[in-house]
Symmetry: C2
Subunit: 287 residues, 2 copies
């Protein structure tokens, strides 16, 4: 029976540390970390995510604000707003919630946010530093970074391990693969074009699934004692939130497993908050 | 018996195209692509590489210059020089030959070169764009880019293929893995900490070796019909230049193989020249 990686409990712990760091910044530097979340349009899921992030940030003492823009906003208006935030010393982290309407070039938005205020860790310069295993300070995509915090908390060492990343998105798959490679794992990235995913997963010590597909991984796909991380957020036939992994089956064979909900999800938001404070502390050091 | 991938012949072909593009830039825009190669100290191998690049550039009509600096040069002096080149519109590509003496932070040098003059493709912003499969124009590390040119020339399609990158350097292994992943391959990066390299290489359709170790790959390590790319440049017992791969054995089993010398090596320099002209053409488009 696998050990459950309790993302909810770990997120609580990380948030407590973040709140302490916020208090310390206030006491020692009279600075309150500032996070602004820009949301365009009224996509209900996005609205929910944003409110969620906002509430958590406020709870931790971060000066959080939501900037709601109409679906009709022009690219120039959005970029101009971002440049105002770039120039505003009270703002340490800028997050633009996707999806964005068609008239807006998402990549251009990502690049307009200053790398040192890129709380999502999506700017090519930050991604490049991660890929190059740069040892200086820079933000990293929150979901993979949160998973690395789980590995550390549960004493899961990646050195020399065979790791498989299922999915190659820019937000999860690619940065996760980099983080594991940088920790000394042998990393395979598999995806929809992969001939035989099982060839890799059956040999893997660590598997991270981010496909958004039900039943991506079942017990026969993994080896005894594998560590299984489930990034999936899917609705099952009964309308319940479930992951990519057949939890009940895989749990019997894995050594560690993350539940959905209560696994990777809470860690992503906790990491976003943590990283907002990181950016604030780094900005002080660079002064 | 494998088809030999003739890097020398392909480099000739690429160089001819580069020379044509140089002539066209001169005729239509009265512009001559400018490449400056900075070398610090008198390491013999580096001196040889640099002269090699310089001679090839001149042959193709590129305005190439070598800037020789003493081993005692300070970091500030070097960075100041790079900033002068950054500001000099007659220079399209800046290359700082490594190794650099201890008093110089190589990473800082890489970041000081403007991304749009980063002919080596080492700047984190350019690396990040590669990793993110960005579709805009940016330079890419020359050895992996040259290998991709070989794949194209020989009709080797990577979509859905199982690819293994042996070695995880920032200059070859990591960018090569990204390029193959971006073309739809399932990519595994293996390295000195990998438990069982053969598990991956025996299953691989495409193997790229960049270990700098003799006998990294022999016939029993690969499957029938694999494509084998040898980035190694090693001296064997008899003092001859050889690759990582046991060529005579592997050649019998592979479908395609690169020789050493005459494989990847010539393509790296040809790609550097090609990329100098790319940077020049891109600078015109952005005007």
């Amino acid at each position: 029976m696998a050990t459950l990686i309790d993302g909810k409990a770990l997120a609580k712990k990380v948030n407590a540390q973040t709140a302490e760091r916020v208090a310390k910044l206030k006491a020692e530097h009279n600075i309150v970390p500032g996070l602004v979340v820009v949301i365009v349009g009224d996509d209900q899921a996005s609205q929910r995510y944003v409110r969620n992030k906002h509430r958590t940030a406020q709870k931790l003492g971060i000066n959080s604000s939501i900037k709601q823009l109409p679906n009709s906003v022009s690219q120039d208006e959005l970029l101009e707003l971002i440049n105002e935030y770039n120039a505003d010393s009270s703002i340490n982290g800028i997050l633009v919630q996707d999806p964005l309407p068609d008239q807006i070039d998402e990549k251009l938005v990502t690049r307009t946010i200053l790398p040192e205020k890129d709380v999502d860790g999506f700017h090519p310069e930050n991604v490049g530093k991660l890929f190059l295993a740069d040892t200086t300070d820079y933000p990293v995509s929150c979901t993979p970074k949160g998973i690395m915090t789980m590995f550390t908390e549960y004493g899961i060492d990646l050195m020399g391990k065979d790791a498989v990343m299922i999915g190659r998105s820019s937000i999860v798959g690619k940065p996760m693969a980099s983080l594991m490679l940088n920790e000394g794992a042998s990393v395979t990235v598999v995806h929809r074009h992969t001939k035989d995913v099982k060839f890799y997963t059956k040999n893997a010590d660590v598997i991270v699934s981010a496909t958004g597909q039900l039943h991506t991984l079942t017990a026969s796909d993994i080896k005894e004692g594998a560590v299984v991380i489930d990034v999936g957020q899917n609705m099952n036939e009964e309308g319940h939130l479930v992951g990519d992994v057949d939890f009940d089956e895989v749990e019997k064979k894995a050594s560690y497993i993350t539940p959905v909900p209560g696994g990777v999800g809470p860690m992503t938001i906790a990491t976003l908050m943590q990283q907002t404070v990181d950016l604030t502390e780094w900005s002080l050091m660079s002064e």
